[in-house]
Every structure is written in structure tokens, then in C-alpha cells.
Amino acid sequence: MRKQAWVYLLLLVALLPTLLPIYWVATISLKSVVDQFAVPPLWFRFAATAEHYRDIFFARPFGRYLWNSMVVAAVATLLALALGTAAAYALARLPMKRNWNRHLSLWILSTRMVPPIVTILPLFLLVRDVGLLNTRLALIVVYVGFMLPFVIWMMRGFFEEVPPELEEAALMDGSSRLRALRDIVLPLVAPGLAATAIFCLIIAWNEFLFALILTQTDAVMTLPVGIAGRVTQYEIKWGAMSAAGVVAMLPVFLFALAVQRYLVRGLSLGAVKG
């Protein structure tokens, strides 16, 4: 037991710097402007105010942003998981001639190497020409593009960890391959799916640049852009900013909590073995 003591000690040491900024954001979101910069810093004793939250939700359309972010992140994640899983399965289980599986997965990964800066302008034009400018759909599609390589790589790993016999057994028991996929394989990689989903959500939830360029009106803007809006020419609206930050973190955090059992177990299914 004494051996564990130092482990906990180290963990606390690690946790402090990790959580402190977050705690600070939380407090600032509750502090009135004067207190925000007080020296020495006010750790606990300050008059809490909800003004900033009121500001972002009533004076500004953060409710709208939040909703947009949720829709975009959720739909994009679902789509990416659907398409990515299918592709990953094919890559893992359907060996094509001349090593195509390997080439394909390499290419897929390579699409992640393209700096967004390269693609953002052409995509803007593309989106404009198909008349999707300033729609959530545009963001969703783009994000799906971001997530796919990630999803495919992860899921491919998971699928390869599932013993082929299980699928073969299902085939022998008389199910079609797709049915076997649904009944046998997917349930087995569910934790992996959950883990992958988290990462996808984070990607979509925090993306800034494309959200900025591809959206034009509040109707479809997402949280990060809205938050960035609180950095004005003259001042940073620390309170609103932090409040927004807190609001932005909550949903993802809750989801992470919900699936955290799967998180590590899922990943350790072996996806990360590359």
C-alpha cells in the first residue's frame, strides 16, 4: 500500500497543472471584470456573477452556436463512423489483388497530411459552387473528410483484432457476410467505436478555421467561431469567453464520462498497434 502512495503523489503533481487552467476558466466565467485581473489572483473568494453566462446566451446567440456545433459534430461523427467503418472493414477483411488494401489505407492516411491551408480556398469555392455555402451540411461534409482517415485507421485495427473464425462461424451458421458483420463483428468492436467516436467529436467540436471560412451567418456558425468573436479588437471579453469555454467543454466531457469505460478498453483492442 505504501508503494501506491508515491503513485498518487505523482498523479496529483500531474493533475495540478492539467486542471488549473480549466479551474481558472471556470472562475473567470463567474468573476466580475474587476476581479478577473486582481493581483494577487483571487482563487476562491470573489463575488460570483452569472452576467457572462447571461451575456452569451441572451445578448449573443450562443444557444444557436451550441446547437449548430452539436448538430454538426454529431451528424459528422455518425457519418464518418458509418462510412469509415465500412471502408475499414473492407480494408481489413476483403484482401484485394496486388496489395491494394495497403496502398489504399496509405493513401487514405496521406490525405491527413495535406495542410488545411492548402484545401480551404478550393473547398470554399467548391462549396460555393454546389450552393452549400453557409450551411451546416458543408461543415459536416468537410469534417467527415477530416475524420475519415482517423476512423478508418482505428477501425481497421479493431477489425483485424477480431478472430476471423468468429465471422466464418457465422457464415457457416448460414448468415450472409453483412449479417455476420452486424450480428458478430460490430458488437465486438463496439468499445473501439466508442473510443473513435470521442476523438471524432473532439475534432469536429473544436475545429475553427473551416467553420470560420465556410459559415457566414449566425444561423450556422459553430461555437469556436462564436467564441473567437469574443476576442475583439480592443479587448478580450474574458468573462464571456470563459463562460463560452465552459459551455463548450461540458457536452464533450459528459460524453467522455459516459463512454470512458470503453475509452481505454476500446483502444487497447489493438487499433493503436498500427
Binding site: E168, L171, G174
Partner: protein
């Protein structure tokens, strides 16, 4: 229904896993594919199942060519070496799955599962998950999943090799009884010759993808068609010594070994310049005092299993083994005398490996 392989070949790139196999499994027969690892047993089974594409040749079920059908369409049941139970389903669900995919009615399924579970003494385990089962129990579930529907045939890939010695013996018996009472066609893969001999109606011995001998167990045991079969079947395997026949002395001779041969073998031996003499351990007589004509040896290891004792000993450069009653026992390096039972000698053409005659 009868299953027929006609000139079936399977290549993996360069590797020839199965070479021009022609083989017929009669309806209701329990045929065992026997061979060392890598000889192609599993491949044959998987090609029949439809899990592996055939490179050339045809497979027939009755009169129907099934070479290109999907596993579903062929309707065989398979028991995998690793059992391949669905980890996320309970025993009951595992058993029910083949029926579920066939869209049976819930109540029918329930009834059938109950009945099969009872037959395999799984009733008390129905709610458990595979990982909560012992090896033997898993094995029974896998079996149950196969027999719950009546498929055209059962394909079993080393179903017993993952459970412990004791259980294996018992399950082996149960399996044999089950097959008999169901009267189903069964294709059974194993590398354990004891299993093959005890279970099979007929055994097909394979090596490097080539069929070596097909016949009833005792035929295979007592009349091995070639050196490979002789060396592979039986435990400990048949003693094999290469040498030549000295017709003047009517005896087989090899370095520091001299064995008189009966007339039949002498005539047979005429065809071959170099021959290999074979004799099973139970036909080697061993004792502490030699009698005239007996040969000298030195004990390497002596293993007593209780009802019998296996003695492995050196005779000059040769390593031989003998099976003696459980009452006897020898020390390491002890000097012994031995002779072969002339009635049970085998001769093989050393060049071709074929049995003589």
C-alpha cells in the same frame, strides 16, 4: 448425402496446400483426415465449407457441384478448433444463432435450444457467457451449435485438441457415440493418430497436401501403405531401420543389426535393393538376459504409464522403442537384450517408401 472431391487442388501463391485430391465421403460415414501440421487438413475442410476458394477441381454434394456456392448455400455445420463461440452472446444465444438467421419462430427456437442443451448437458449453463465456461463446456457448446440444425454434414477441425487429456478421452467417446446415434456424415480433422484410429470409420492420411492412404483404422495400423504412414500412425511410432536383405542368409542386415526374415518378405524384397525394416514397439521383445540370436541394446529412457511401460533404447546407432508390460521397468543406460516378432515385420522399399509387397 455423399460428398465427393474430384481432383481438387489448392494453391496459396507458390505453396501447394492440397494437391489433386480425389476423395469420397459416404453418407453417414465418419471420415477422419489425419496428418502432421501443415499437411492441408484445414484447407480441405475450409474448401468444402466454402470458406476458401478452390484453385482447380470440383466438389460435389450428391450429384450437385457446390464448388462455387456460398457457405450459406452449402449448408454444412462446422466446429472450429478454437470453437469460435460468439463471445458477446450467452450459451443459449450461441445455440440459437443458426436458427435465428434462418428466421425460425421464437418459440420453436427456444424449444430446440432446450432440447439440444439437454442432450449435451448444457442446460445449467444456458445463461453463461463463453468466457465463463471451461474448455470442455465450450467444446460442447460449439458442438451444440452444429447439431441444432441438421446440415448436410458436420465438419470438425481438431475439436478436441484444446482440452485436457482426461476430458479429451471422454469427449472422444461421446463424439463417437453421438455420431453413431445421429447417423450423420462427419468429416473430422486431427493430427492425433490415436484420435483418428479410435474415432474413424475410415482414415485419410495426408502429407504435404497429398493423400497417402485411405482405409479403415486397423488396415492403416497393421498395413501402412508407405513409410510415412508407418512412421506417423501408432504411438510410439513403428521402429524403422534402413538396410539391405542378405538373401544367402535369408536375413535383413544393417549396421550392427541382423534380423532373419520369413519367406514371404524375402520374396517381396527381391524387387528392392535397399529396404527399410519396420516393427511396432509391441512387437519388440525385451529382457535383461539375452537368449541366442537376440541383440544387445542400452536403455535411453524408460517410461511407465502403469498398465504398460515404454522403453526407448539404443542399439548401436539406431534408436528403437519397445512396449512392455507395466510390471517391468528399466534404469537409464541399463544394458538390455531384444528381438523382433518375425510374424509382425514390415518391409518398405527404401527408395520409393512403398510397402513391400
Amino acid at each position: 448425402m455423399e460428398i465427393r472431391f474430384e481432383h481438387v487442388t489448392k494453391k496459396y501463391g507458390e505453396v501447394v496446400a492440397v494437391a489433386d485430391l480425389s476423395l469420397a465421403v459416404q453418407a453417414g460415414e465418419l471420415l477422419v483426415l489425419l496428418g502432421p501440421t501443415g499437411c492441408g487438413k484445414t484447407t480441405i475442410l475450409r474448401m468444402l465449407a466454402g470458406l476458401e476458394a478452390v484453385t482447380s477441381g470440383e466438389i460435389y454434394l450428391g450429384e450437385r457441384a457446390i464448388t462455387h456456392l456460398s457457405p450459406r448455400a452449402r449448408d454444412f455445420a462446422m466446429v472450429f478448433q478454437s470453437y469460435a463461440l460468439y463471445p458477446h452472446m450467452s450459451v443459449a444465444e450461441n445455440l440459437a444463432y443458426p436458427l435465428r438467421v434462418r428466421h425460425w419462430r421464437q418459440d420453436q427456437i427456444a424449444a430446440t435450444v432446450k432440447q439440444v442443451a439437454a442432450r449435451l448437458e448444457l442446460t445449467s449453463l444456458l445463461a453463461r457467457r463463453p468466457r465463463e465456461l471451461s474448455g470442455g463446456e465450450r467444446q460442447r457448446v460449439a458442438l451444440g451449435r452444429a447439431i441444432i440444425r441438421n446440415p448436410n454434414a458436420f465438419l470438425l477441425d481438431e475439436p478436441l485438441s484444446n482440452i485436457d487429456a482426461k476430458l479429451r478421452l471422454q469427449m472422444r467417446m461421446e463424439l463417437k457415440h453421438l455420431q453413431h446415434s445421429l447417423g450423420v456424415t462427419m468429416l473430422y480433422v486431427t493430427h492425433d493418430q490415436a484420435e483418428a484410429l479410435t474415432l474413424a470409420h475410415r482414415v485419410a492420411v495426408l502429407q504435404k497436401g497429398v493423400l497417402q492412404q485411405l482405409g479403415e483404422p486397423m488396415a492403416i495400423y497393421h498395413h501402412p501403405a508407405n513409410l510415412f504412414v508407418a512412421g506417423f500412425v501408432g504411438s510410439p511410432p513403428m521402429n524403422l531401420v534402413e538396410g539391405s536383405v542378405d538373401f544367402s542368409a535369408a536375413a535383413f542386415t544393417a549396421r550392427d543389426l541382423r534380423v532373419p526374415l520369413p519367406e514371404a518378405l524375402l520374396t517381396a524384397a527381391r524387387q528392392a535393393p535397399r529396404v527399410t525394416l519396420g516393427v511396432r514397439p509391441e512387437h519388440v521383445r525385451l529382457s535383461r538376459q539375452g537368449e541366442p540370436g537376440w541383440l544387445a541394446g542400452r536403455v535411453y529412457v524408460c517410461e511407465a504409464t502403469g498398465n504398460e511401460t515404454l522403453v526407448s533404447f539404443r542399439a548401436g546407432e539406431h534408436r528403437l522403442s519397445a512396449r512392455v508390460p507395466g510390471t517391468q521397468s528399466y534404469d537409464f543406460e541399463e544394458a538390455v537384450w531384444f528381438t523382433f516378432d518375425p510374424a509382425h515385420l514390415h518391409l518398405f522399399d527404401a527408395a520409393t517408401g512403398q510397402a513391400l509387397p
